[in-house]
């Protein structure tokens, strides 16, 4: 099929939109509400073009063969500028003083400052300890609402009111903390104006870093090392592990540990649990590393709570190990340690504050920063990541295998767990540890694997709407032995705390980087991690021991979100 855009003859495919066809041919049309991972809703009207003499929005108008499209005329430029002007005029002045998608659209539309006076004076919603909302910055693009509804099937937020009083609210006007919100933060990931953000802890961490007499320990999650670079001007999928370690030290942290270590630890505990459950006929086993998924399951499918692994998430295992095992080694009380984690995730902020996450007697993790917040901290401190030399993680919680690395991507926990579970059941290692059937961006992956003559059915879901479809099938009687669920599309590399403007292309680049970290490791199976073995020998005993249960496992509420 062919059409012309501004007189240029171009090829296009049936089902494509005008915007897609134009962008493929490097013709840029400003957009605001459009997001490549969501359905176009045509709310902002900033992408106006002329198609066969009619003004249409390019984001939601399908191409037709022989269409004549004009994107660049005086009239269209003025209309697009006016549309952006109306939107820019509606937000608080601070919103247009920073770099975001709105100010970017203003630049593209040739609008220096808004023409009309801002009028919004709305209350903020900081009720959740994962996600904050400031409607004075909101341009009602609808991305957050669609994400919460279509991608996550949670429907915690909605539009309420009409005309210029319309705003995003918790369902039935409730503060976010009282809604079904699972803290995944996908809303903050897609928000173009930072009206929805993570519950910020940057200032708290800055203050904590200045505190004397405390040991400042930090851990970084598997996916942060392949995404942080994007926030700081590097190409998607750049692996910056060593640079982050060096930069964190420069920022004032004394000790930098690797969450990949505790991911290995999680796998050892969880695989052990899986083997026990198989023996006891108590499958399926659901993974437990994603706190947003846990909140989802506990609220919408409480009948499956007993099926969730009791293993804590890698963040919380690390948190417990730092303030017990490591504190003991250093000979200091847990209260003398400030433990910070850097996560791709907003739900981890809430998880760290759960009442039961105090294995050391005090709160195991004191502060959680998202990838975006760490970038902000580095910027504030004037630390240029690109120029940093590479440093190594500290011992004894810094060593990891490739299995720990792939925790960051959908299917990774399944792959890592099967590498170890196979060994535990079969008594020998997998021939090919690259379990390709767990990989890829398909929303629901299902497969069978034979271990010791027995067939095991497994499923991997990412995006809670996909999880819901799977759970409904299980409810109707389908049986799986092992199920991995991650709330965010793509897994943690697409997490709610990751760099803005995330799309499937960037998620794929990050995934490739994660698999590169895995294949670059000498050890690629969690049970081969020497530091993990040492931790068991010196401190934990054996997998599933009383001590391991006390420190590395958790319980769940009977119904509803964990507090």
């Amino acid at each position: 099929m062919h059409l012309t855009i501004d007189g240029k003859y171009i090829e296009c495919r049936e089902g494509e939109t005008i915007l897609q066809a134009a962008r493929k041919n490097c013709i840029d049309i400003p957009t605001l509400c459009y997001h490549p991972m969501l359905e176009p809703e045509g709310r902002c009207r900033a992408c106006l073009v002329e198609a066969n003499g009619k003004i249409v929005t390019s984001c939601d108008t399908a191409v037709q063969g022989g269409m004549h499209i004009i994107t660049d005329s005086e009239k269209l430029r003025r209309m697009r500028r006016d549309a952006v002007d109306l939107i820019a005029s509606s937000v608080s002045p601070e919103t247009i003083k920073e770099e975001n998608e709105l100010t970017d659209a203003m630049k593209k539309a040739g609008l220096e400052k808004p023409s009309f006076k801002n009028y919004k004076k709305l209350a903020k919603d900081n009720s959740s300890n994962a996600v904050w909302r400031n409607n004075n910055r909101c341009i009602a693009c609808g991305r957050c609402v669609q994400s919460c509804s279509s991608v996550q099937s949670v429907d915690a937020i909605t539009f309420a009111g009409r005309s210029n009083e319309m705003q995003v609210e918790g369902v039935e006007g409730e503060p976010l903390a009282k809604t079904a919100c699972v803290s995944c933060g996908q809303c903050s990931l897609v928000c173009p104006t930072n009206a929805i953000t993570e519950a910020s802890e940057v200032k708290k961490v800055e203050k904590a870093l200045k505190e004397k007499g405390k040991l400042k320990v930090v851990q970084i999650a598997p996916s942060v090392r392949v995404s942080l670079g994007e926030c700081l001007g590097m190409e998607p999928g750049r692996i910056v592990t060593g640079k982050i370690v060096a930069a964190l030290k420069k920022a004032g942290f004394d000790v930098v540990f690797d969450t990949n270590f505790s991911a290995d630890l999680t796998i050892v505990e969880e695989s052990n649990e899986f083997v026990e459950r198989v023996k006891g006929g108590k499958t399926p086993l659901f993974t437990s590393c994603c706190p947003a998924w846990i909140d989802f399951c506990c609220q919408f499918y409480p009948e499956f709570i007993p099926k969730i692994s009791t293993a804590k998430s890698p963040q919380q295992m690390m948190g417990a190990m730092i303030k017990t095992f490591y504190a003991g080694k250093r000979g200091i009380r847990p209260g003398k340690i400030t433990s910070v984690s850097v996560m791709p995730c907003t739900a981890k902020k809430k998880e760290a504050r759960l009442k039961q996450m105090r294995a050391s007697g005090v709160q195991d993790i004191d502060f959680v920063l998202t990838t975006r917040e760490l970038a902000m901290l580095f910027k504030k401190k004037g630390i240029g990541l690109e120029k940093m030399s590479e440093s190594e993680f500290d011992d004894p919680l810094g060593e990891s295998t490739g299995a720990g690395a792939i925790f960051g991507v959908t299917g990774g926990v399944m792959e890592a767990a099967l590498r170890t579970a196979y060994f535990l059941i079969e008594g020998k290692e997998l021939e090919d540890i690259n379990l390709k059937m767990t990989r890829g961006t398909k929303g629901l992956k299902e497969f069978e694997i034979e271990i010791k003559g027995e067939k095991f059915r497994a499923a991997v879901a990412h995006g809670l709407a996909n999880a819901r479809l799977l759970l409904e099938r299980i409810k109707k009687g389908e049986h799986f032995h092992f199920v991995e669920v991650r709330a965010c599309p793509g897994g943690c590399i697409g997490g709610g705390g990751q760099p803005k403007l995330t799309d499937w292309g960037k998620i794929s680049a990050r995934a490739e980087a994660i698999y590169a970290v895995d294949s670059g490791k000498g050890q690629r199976k969690s049970h081969e991690n020497a530091a993990v073995k040492k931790a068991y020998a010196e401190f934990l005993g054996k997998p599933g021991s009383e001590k391991a249960k006390g420190l590395l496992h958790r319980s769940y509420p009977e119904k509803g979100k964990a507090e």
Binding site: G42, D82, A83, L86, I87, A140, G161, R162, S163, N164
Partner: protein
């Protein structure tokens, strides 16, 4: 008032229609030249044909739009009280076309007191409903102007936020619950049985007259009637200056010799819609009229798209400023630019017609605005 358009069919029209096949019914409706009476004026026969031809399995629906929310429009209310059975017959004939078993009447919330008459009519039609396994439900609106838009009604009935849907797909293809749905206005359905009785005249329609009149009300007009002749029937108060077509149709100067045709109204930049005419006499300021209509749109914008949500508010601010004598020539320029933006960029037809009163007033009564500006 008495009009042949309100003559009771007493099931005679329905009986005749039920003898026909869906294709025959569509051919007859097409032949009649009946066009939608809800404002957009789309040929009814074509709409029904599109719904019949729409693919897909499962249910089909018929929906009567009785959310008569356009200011100055009240002809559907008259039909609902005087000839509700004709509406039911029209709905049943549409059900016959689609083999639909479920029909809805979306009744304007403020018309709740007309529900009794409707329910009585539905009860009276029971033999025809039961025999064909059809159920008609009356759904009460909650007072949103946007629900005059057929796709917003679909969302409302489905329990969703009443916002318009992107067209295409049209309701005829993907309507209620994604199924082919015939959506027509009250007056349109009421005309259908008359077609089968040979009593329908496509040149005649109902017109709501209000404003500076002694005898405001519903009148029957025929295509090409002179504006002066029509107004005489309603006895104007003072000297008419302008005709205002509801809130969304625009304002044109009153010309007694102007023949009331859609083309003539359109030529003046306005749109007759449902032919609700608000007569404005010389004592009223057009600027004030625009400000008042604008306040209506600021209240009623659903908020879905930015130009309607934010643009109407800014237009009201400008009109308030001008109305207070504080406006400038530049403000008039911005007002013109905003109304042009809304007319061509809003998501739905209601949003696109919201600024029509300003653009037509600036065209025909510019001096009234200029006089108030410095």
């Amino acid at each position: 008032m008495n009009s042949a358009l309100l003559e009771a069919s007493n099931f005679e029209g329905l009986k005749k229609a039920l003898e026909k096949t869906p294709e025959e019914i569509i051919a007859i409706v097409k032949e009649s030249s009946l066009k939608g009476r809800g404002g957009a004026g789309f040929p009814t026969g074509l709409k029904w044909e599109a719904a019949l031809k729409a693919g897909g399995e499962g249910e089909r629906f018929v929906l009567c739009n009785a959310d008569e929310g356009e200011p100055g429009t009240f002809k559907d209310r008259l039909i609902l009280t005087k000839a509700p059975l004709n509406v039911i017959e029209g709905i049943l004939i549409a059900c016959r076309v689609l083999d639909a078993k479920k029909a809805f009447i979306y009744l304007r919330g403020e018309y709740a007191h007309h529900r009794t008459a409707l329910d009585r009519a539905i009860k009276k039609a029971k033999p025809y409903l039961g025999a064909n396994g059809i159920d008609i439900s009356v759904v009460l609106g909650e007072g949103a102007y946007i629900c005059g838009d057929e796709t917003a009604i679909l969302n409302s009935i489905e329990g969703k936020r009443p916002e318009p849907r992107k067209k295409p797909p049209y309701p005829a293809e993907k309507g209620l619950y994604g199924k082919p749905t015939i959506v027509n206005n009250v007056e349109t359905f009421a005309m259908v049985p008359l077609i089968f009785l040979g009593k329908f005249d496509s040149n005649k329609r109902l017109c709501s007259l209000s404003g500076d009149l002694h005898k405001a009300g519903v009148f029957e007009i025929s295509e090409g009637k002179q504006a002066g002749t029509l107004l005489e029937l309603a006895e104007p108060i003072g000297i008419p200056k302008a005709l205002c077509f509801g809130a969304s149709g625009g304002i044109i100067p009153f010309d007694p010799c102007m023949e009331l045709t859609e083309a003539n109204v359109k030529e003046r930049g306005a749109f007759p819609g449902t032919w609700s005419v608000i007569v404005i006499n010389h004592e009223h300021s057009i600027v004030e009229l625009c400000r008042s209509i604008q306040a209506f749109f600021v209240h009623e914008s659903c908020g879905y798209c930015a130009p309607c949500r934010e643009g109407n508010l800014r237009m009201l601010e400008l009109l308030e400023k001008i109305s207070k004598g504080k406006g400038t020539k530049k403000d008039l320029q911005i007002l013109r630019e905003l109304s042009a933006l809304l007319e061509s960029s809003c998501f739905c037809a209601l949003g696109r017609s919201a600024p029509l009163h300003v653009s037509t007033a600036l065209r025909h009564f510019f001096w009234e605005f200029e006089e108030k500006c410095t």
